[in-house]
Amino acid sequence: MTADKEKRRAISREAARRRRRVESEVFEDLSRLLPLQQSVRDHLDKPSVIRLTLSYIRMHTLLTGKTGTKAEASHKVKCGQVTDGQMVRHEFNGGCGEEEEKERYDADASKETNMYLRILEGFMMVLSTEGDMIYLSDNVSKYMGLTQAELMGHNIFEFSHPCDHEELRNNLRVTAEEVWSGGKRDFVMRIKSALTHRGRSANLKSATWKVLHCQGRSKVCVAPSSVSCLLLTCQPLPLSHTLLSTQTFTSQHSMDMRFTYCDQRMTLLLGYSTEELLGRSIYDLCHTRDTNCLTKNHFNLCFKSQSVSGRYRMLVRGGGYVWVESHSAVIPNARSSKSRPSANQPLCILCVTYVLSGVEEPSLQLSLDQTVHI
């Protein structure tokens, strides 16, 4: 009896092994069809293969879901030589050497794409309405420390800060009316980054939070298997080593947005002296209709530690106002010790404000602060 059982067990084991082998082979086939480098392909596990396959199919649907115009446009695009400052148009011919032509064309396009990504200093993300990261450009590893293959297909909610989930969900919702109005998106979110301070990739277990500024639009596909999604460019918001022009100024604030410091350019551009401003709240200096914009900025700073404000108006001393945009971050107070930042360290807000316009309505005094004090 035992021998019989043994035999049966052996048979079932054999069958199981065979099944697994067949399955593995199919997985191999699948992964070979994916446009990945060999080194990447070797390290994929089964769920990853499926994820990447899904992404591939979805992206394909997304891109072909567009009407013929886009496809045509891509063919008519000038080939290469942007970097040399020239413009040479190549007609895409189906003649001889097509394969070579295609490759060169693609290589040039790749250069251009890389340039865009380099200029934007960010990566590209395509999100499905459920939050699946359908596609990520391959420079995502520079910002998140994880490669494209590791991340694609996963859900953004697994990688973003829980407190931002609500906002994310709101942004993912694609309504019908947006099809006409363009469906713009602009928000700040915190995402896990496996980069160490030195810029090397660490394990996800020791991930830190990184603040990303995401801008883009929603795209509604009316293809058969419609893939509505968000197209986003995600940029971290660094403040260090920003080149400033004469039309920008920096300021520091306490956490309630009262000025603690501002540079002399502020005086040149807006007319207030530094002494006047210390202790004043920024809300006093701005046009009332922009209060919402400033409040949102303030909230982002409090909870996410970095923010890009929208456009708002700052009142100029003596009359009128200018349109500005501020990029801000929360940083530990400069005077504190160099030890590792802890929760109790006093914080302040650093703002870099770009002045966008000239002084509008210079004769108009809207606020008490603009009038000359008696």
Binding site: F27, L30, T113, L117, A207, Q247, H287, C302, S357, L364
Partner: protein, 641 residues
């Protein structure tokens, strides 16, 4: 105990972060995750937030074994050690969970993926029954093969394959960024290249732009700014860099010329660019010509340009036949052709501002009040409606302009809005214009609270003009038609007694203005005392109370309310009126229209002579100023959610 574990944890991590996972020494049961994210750790760009980690030192042998076995349990044939974050994630959470749970989760995830896959594959879809895993995978292979066949092939060979065809990606990026790429020469601003997407944004075609000077398309006021950004000249001020760690500016001590020109130097600026007007049909054009009043204003949009500088030796360019007159200019240069390669993007929340138009309805304007009702901001629209220039109103109290009939109602609303987070609507009321006549307004007030300190900074009021015809229909506690400023006590419904000291002279203005300060003061008092209005605080007019010649004024504090409310017992017809109580949330004003001015302002004031009234007001103002000037000590603020 947990500290010991931490120490025994083999030095996995330095220091004790508040969000550490502390593993309890329990033989069974799962570990619960701490709530990992606190704003404290989220704050600050350099704050490190660590994900929950398992502690190697503190785990039982058994569990370690089970944890590591997870890796191999399913795929004995494969020898991968793929670094998939998801598996680690799963293991982290439940390394004390039994095998079967982990297995089940893995299977579920796989099944989930397979389902998603089958939904995406066209051949799988029509199948009514659920397909097994292997079949789905096989179909996926087929599908991919068919997809690859139609588009350009991914050759296995030389160049690096990317997931998306690059030209598609490029378009996708520009679409997402809502931007266009442009390359301009630095010396003259000649547009050397611009991507197609510019058409969607600026409405100019590429052909129109290439070869033109960038400066032709930039707002005149921004030309200096853009010149500076493009310039290599030493005339312009040095770069300023900010060190994010300290927030201080760091002066760049590089020699200006060389540094600016070197390839890779970044630029980031905003400028306004022209938008091409849409062509109109011929007929409309003729029509337009006849209407000479039509403004031909140029529209601009604000573009955020980011990019970097590139420079090439001109010899190379000339060899490639660049020509077009560019060569001459370059020869003057230090044999370098430098340009800016940048992406211009229009931000989503921008709307092109033309002539600073404020988008309010014609009969609406916005004002901002300090807590005591003084105007601190007046929208320019107010001028057409009220006749005052904003600067004439600034600094004065709104109560000076309110009609006397409306004072108590508005004061009540004022109190309410200071304590409430919602928008408070007023009834219709009259506002005195410059010419002396009254215009009927209706306002919506809300108090603006600083997100950080949670204190009221100011009040914002959206004021709508109500035309005279509507005055009957608008909600009004008072009879709006009544325009007389004098009240008689015969009119029992809503009369105010004649108050000595009140006249239409400036004395009255000061008096009315103090209403606001006193209301603000109340709020501060109640906030400071940090209690319900049941604590009796002294009204700033207590000083004058003692001097009050009338005996009817008594110092009763009915129910211990914050402010003493007494009726000047002048008119006997108002005996019914009880002492008004001002609770935080509700005001009884509405129910008690017989309240007179005393109850609004404070006891006893109504009975003073104008001199004494003025004195009292000045004293209260002095007190108020010190109160409102209190700075918030933000050092003691702590993070809280």
């Amino acid at each position: 105990m947990s500290a010991r574990n931490a120490a025994a944890g083999g030095g996995d991590r330095v220091g004790g972060e508040p969000a550490d996972v502390l593993v309890e020494d329990k033989p069974s049961g799962s570990v619960s995750l701490p709530s990992p994210m606190t704003p404290a750790s989220a704050a600050g760009m350099s704050a490190t937030m660590e994900m929950p980690r398992k502690r190697k030192g503190s785990v039982d042998n058994q569990d370690t074994k089970s944890a590591s076995m997870d890796m191999d349990i399913e795929d004995m044939d494969e020898s991968h050690n793929g670094s998939d974050g998801e598996d680690q994630h799963v293991k982290m959470k439940c390394f004390r969970e039994p095998h079967s749970q982990i297995e089940k989760r893995r299977r579920d995830k796989m099944n989930n993926l397979i389902d998603k896959l089958s939904a995406m594959i066209p051949t799988c879809n029509p199948m009514s029954r659920k397909l097994d895993k292997l079949t789905v995978l096989r179909m996926a292979v087929q599908h991919l093969k068919s997809l690859k066949g139609s588009s350009s092939s991914f050759s296995e060979a030389n160049y690096k394959p990317s997931f998306l065809p690059n030209d598609e990606l490029k378009h996708l990026i520009l679409k997402a960024a809502d931007g266009f790429l442009f390359v301009v020469g630095c010396d003259r601003g000649k547009i050397v290249f611009v991507s197609e997407s510019v058409t969607k944004i600026l409405n100019y075609s590429r052909a129109e732009l290439i070869g033109q000077s960038l400066f032709d398309y930039i707002h005149p006021k921004d030309m200096g700014k853009v010149k500076e950004q493009l310039s290599a000249s030493e005339l312009f001020p040095r770069e300023r860099l900010i060190d994010a760690k300290t927030g201080l500016q760091v002066q760049a001590d590089l020699p200006v010329g060389a540094a600016r020109l070197c390839t890779g130097a970044r630029r980031s600026f905003f400028c306004r660019m022209k938008i091409n007007k849409i062509c109109v049909k011929v007929e409309e054009k003729e029509f337009q010509a006849s209407t000479s009043k039509k403004k031909d204003s140029q529209k601009y949009c604000t573009v955020h340009c980011t990019g970097y500088m590139r420079s090439w030796p001109t010899t190379q360019l000339e060899a490639e036949g660049e020509g077009e007159g560019e060569g001459e200019a370059d020869k003057q240069d230090s044999s370098h052709f430098s340009c800016l390669v940048a992406v211009g993007r229009v931000h989503s929340h921008s709307s092109p501002q033309v002539n600073g138009e404020v988008r309010v309805k014609p009969t609406e304007f916005i004002t901002r009040y300090a807590m005591d009702g003084k105007f601190t901001f007046v929208d320019q629209r107010a001028t057409t409606i009220l006749g005052y220039l904003p600067q004439e109103l600034l600094g004065t109290s709104c109560y000076e302009y309110f009609h006397q009939d409306d004072l108590q109602h508005l004061a009540d609303r004022h109190r309410k809005v200071l304590r409430s987070k919602e928008k408070i609507e007023t009834n219709c009321y009259k506002f005195k214009t410059k010419s002396g006549s009254f215009v009927t307004l209706q306002s919506q007030w809300f108090s603006f609270v600083n997100p950080w300190t949670k204190e009221v900074e100011y009040l914002v009021s959206t004021n709508t003009v109500i035309s005279c015809d509507n005055s009957r229909t608008c909600r009004s506690g008072n009879k709006a038609e009544q325009s007389s400023t004098s009240k008689t006590s015969e009119d029992g419904k809503k009369s105010l007694p004649v108050i000595p000291g009140i006249s239409t002279t400036p004395g009255a203005m000061i008096y009315a203005g103090s209403i606001g300060t006193q209301i603000a003061n109340e709020l501060l008092d109640s906030n400071r005392l940090n209690s319900s209005p049941s604590s009796g605080s002294v009204s700033p007019f207590s000083l004058s109370q003692d001097k009050c010649p009338h005996n009817q004024i008594s110092n009763n504090v009915p129910n211990g309310e914050a402010t003493d409310m007494e009726i000047a017992g002048k008119s006997s017809s108002e005996e019914d009126a009880q002492g008004a109580t001002f609770s935080g949330a509700e005001s009884l004003m509405g129910e008690n229209p017989q309240m007179d001015l005393d109850s609004v302002v404070g006891p006893g004031l109504g009975s003073l002579s104008s001199d004494e009234a003025a004195m009292a007001v000045i004293m209260s103002l002095l007190e108020t100023d010190t109160n409102l000037g209190e700075a918030v000590d933000f050092e003691e603020m702590h993070w809280s959610l």
